[in-house]
């Protein structure tokens, strides 16, 4: 009798230990999805509209653009860098594609070439960022901030008023479905899986983690540091370009104020998802959680009609609390 209870307690202790180790090893991911759960429950209490299926689908749809940008941003932050040019890359892609459509009588034959062109522009700009950073050893955050400002000027030179003349077929991309799955959700999932495979299963992906952990050690171990970093920035640029194309398809006009503020929002999503802002630690799963959390938050704000300025106040507060609470140990 007593032996049985002893064994039972031993088994339950072991099980408990397993759970605690899992939680400790994945603390940030458990935390973020726990927060989403708590926020979701709180939201259903505050407003009934929240749990409408159409509203829940809306949350997913609204997080597509920022989600794509955040996935790219994650790869860059894992190297220990940052890409502050993503919002302006998304905008310039949207504006260039819109301009070409408008100049060609919104011909729908151009859709596929222009989609490819847009992604190529993103790749080139990302590669430019990456080369700039690896060749000059400049501070990634500030130099991409500067690139963003140059692009902001160029964007204003392209257009100061919304560009019309996007073919209706292009606008349908955003709302189209394959079976019951919306195409945009599908693309997002594909990009996410690609990013996940890239970071966990591929040689350059592991190199990204190594570079983020310690660039010096990675270099001395014979890892191609520069190649991994440039690759991360190219990936980020391409994700941003894709986000810009979706923005264009969603809004229907080449909006000169598209993607404003998404550079910082993507960093917040990544940070909330538990990727260390010093690089080298974290996972793409966390990023997904961070994006969802932000989307739910803004959805709740909109449903309860909180003033936009208070939204900004809350966003800032959440970021400050989150970064203050997360421990980012750095043994220098």
């Amino acid at each position: 009798m007593s032996m049985q209870t002893e064994r039972a307690t031993a088994v339950s202790a072991m099980r408990w230990k397993k759970i605690t180790t899992f939680v400790r090893n994945n603390a940030s991911i458990v935390l973020i999805f726990g927060m989403i759960l708590v926020l979701g429950i709180a939201a259903t209490i505050v407003t009934e509209k929240f749990q409408n299926p159409s509203n829940l689908i809306n949350i997913f749809r609204q997080s597509i653009v920022i989600g794509l940008i955040a996935i790219g941003q994650s790869a860059v932050i894992l190297t220990g860098g940052a890409d502050m040019s993503v919002a302006m890359v998304a905008r310039i892609v949207a504006l260039i594609v819109a301009t070409i459509f408008a100049a060609n009588n919104s011909s729908s034959a151009l859709i596929v070439p222009l989609l490819l062109l847009g992604i190529a522009i993103g790749a080139v700009l990302g590669g430019f960022n990456g080369l700039l950073i690896t060749r000059t050893h400049a501070n990634p955050f500030i130099i991409t901030f500067g690139v963003a400002n140059i692009l902001r000027g160029v964007n204003l030179a392209i257009a100061t008023t919304p560009i019309r003349g996007i073919p209706p077929e292009f606008l349908k991309i955003y709302d189209s479905k394959i079976g019951i799955v919306p195409v945009n959700v599908l693309v997002m999932i594909l990009v996410w899986v690609l990013a996940w495979l890239l970071t966990t299963r591929s040689r350059p992906g592991r190199a990204i983690f190594a570079v983020g952990g310690s660039e010096r050690v990675a270099r001395l171990s014979g890892i191609r540091v520069n190649r991994a970093m440039v690759l991360a920035y190219i990936f980020s640029g391409m994700c941003a370009a894709l986000a810009g194309l979706f923005l264009l398809s969603r809004s229907g006009v080449g909006d000169p104020s598209a993607a404003e503020g998404m550079d910082f929002q993507s960093m917040v999503a990544v940070a909330l998802g538990g990727i260390s802002l010093y690089g080298g630690k974290g996972s793409m799963i966390g990023t997904l959680g961070g994006v969802l959390l932000l989307a739910i938050l803004s959805n709740v704000f909109n449903l309860t009609q909180v003033n936009i300025y208070y939204q900004q106040l809350f966003l800032g507060m959440i970021v400050l609390i989150a970064v203050a609470v997360y421990k980012t140990p750095r043994s220098a």
Partner: protein, 335 residues
């Protein structure tokens, strides 16, 4: 490749074989220190040729006041950069100051409002410094979060409306004249002289350089590293507040978009003037030259009648160029 283990020779081949010559290191170091003053002189000469309007007394006074405001803010930014941190919340603090002073003077005395403004600025700097030094938050994230927060608080309070008239005292300290100089320029001169004395001739100043140059070394030498970082942040926020008061005196009313450029400009001015991101290198003379460079370039865009988006491109170019140059310089010097 079928093996994950590389031969030592292959590893050696992948490790950079870049061996910079002494001449290159020296040249890049000089360029990092002197590019801003040299560019200033070139632009001043160029302006005389292509845009003589630049030398109008009214335009010169505008340039001087803009120079003074950015100079005060950038001096604070330089202090923060010297201790290996960065402050992206200066623009929010700057705009906040104007709101506080303009909106609370109804009934209160202006003295009280100014004390209040500086107290709030000091608190914001304290929070930034705390996050950076005690919680090890990357400085740009901490201060950018602070930017969003402070901006949100200000806009929630004002509802985004431009309002109020600026008190006479602020008008006086920015557009008033002291002798033949604008008052703002005199204030800039006093602030900078005080900071230069502190940085060069006091142990406090040497500690700041020590913290930036080698934080762990400074810690072992008994310097209170965290206190230096927090102190630099407090000083930076208070200087940004001061800059904001001078700026609102110059503009005359409080605008929704007041001061949004000052983050980027103050960083660009410090960096192009020879301060590096890795701390411990740079001084306020360089920063002054960097401030002059930015203000001159931005003013030239206006004087030449170019579209205003050239200002964005110009700021971005200066920032990219300067960051790349200083990054490379630091890389060479630290080898």
């Amino acid at each position: 490749m079928n093996s994950d283990i590389l031969k030592p020779s292959a590893v050696a081949a992948r490790i950079s074989t870049f061996r910079p010559s002494q001449r290159l290191i020296h040249g890049v170091d000089l360029a990092g220190k002197w590019s801003a003053p040299i560019a200033d002189v070139i632009i001043l000469i160029l302006a005389a040729i292509i845009a003589p309007v630049f030398y109008n007394p009214t335009n010169l006074k505008t340039v001087a006041i803009q120079f003074a405001v950015l100079g005060i803010v950038a001096a604070g930014q330089t202090l923060v950069l010297l201790v290996r941190s960065i402050d992206l919340s200066v623009s929010a603090v700057l705009a906040l100051g104007a709101v506080i002073v303009v909106q609370t003077t109804g009934g209160n005395s202006i003295g009280l409002a100014i004390v209040e403004a500086f107290a709030i600025a000091a608190f914001i700097g304290l929070a930034n410094g705390f996050l950076v030094s005690k919680r090890l938050v990357p400085p740009f994230i901490a201060s950018y979060g602070m930017l969003v927060f402070v901006q949100g608080a200000r806009l929630a309070y004002t509802k985004g409306q431009a309002s109020g008239t600026v008190p006479e005292l602020l008008r006086a300290i920015s557009i008033g004249q002291v002798g033949f100089l604008p008052a703002a320029l005199v204030i800039w001169l006093i602030v900078n002289a005080a900071l230069i004395v502190v940085l060069r001739y006091t142990s406090l100043g040497r500690w700041i350089y020590a913290v930036g140059g080698n934080p762990s070394g400074a810690r072992y030498a008994g310097v209170k590293v965290d206190a230096m970082v927090i102190g630099a942040h407090i000083a930076c926020s208070m200087l940004a507040m001061f800059g904001g008061l001078v700026l609102s005196g110059y503009i005359g009313y409080v605008d929704l978009k007041l001061g949004t450029d000052y983050n980027l400009n103050s960083i660009a001015a410090s960096i192009v003037g020879g301060t590096t991101f890795t701390g411990g290198r740079g001084n306020l003379f360089g920063t002054a030259a960097g401030v002059a460079l930015l203000v001159l370039l931005l003013n030239l865009v206006v004087v030449l009648g170019l579209p205003i988006h050239w200002q964005f491109a110009m700021q971005g170019l200066v920032l990219v160029f300067a960051t790349a140059l200083q990054g490379f310089r630091q890389f060479l010097l630290s080898r």
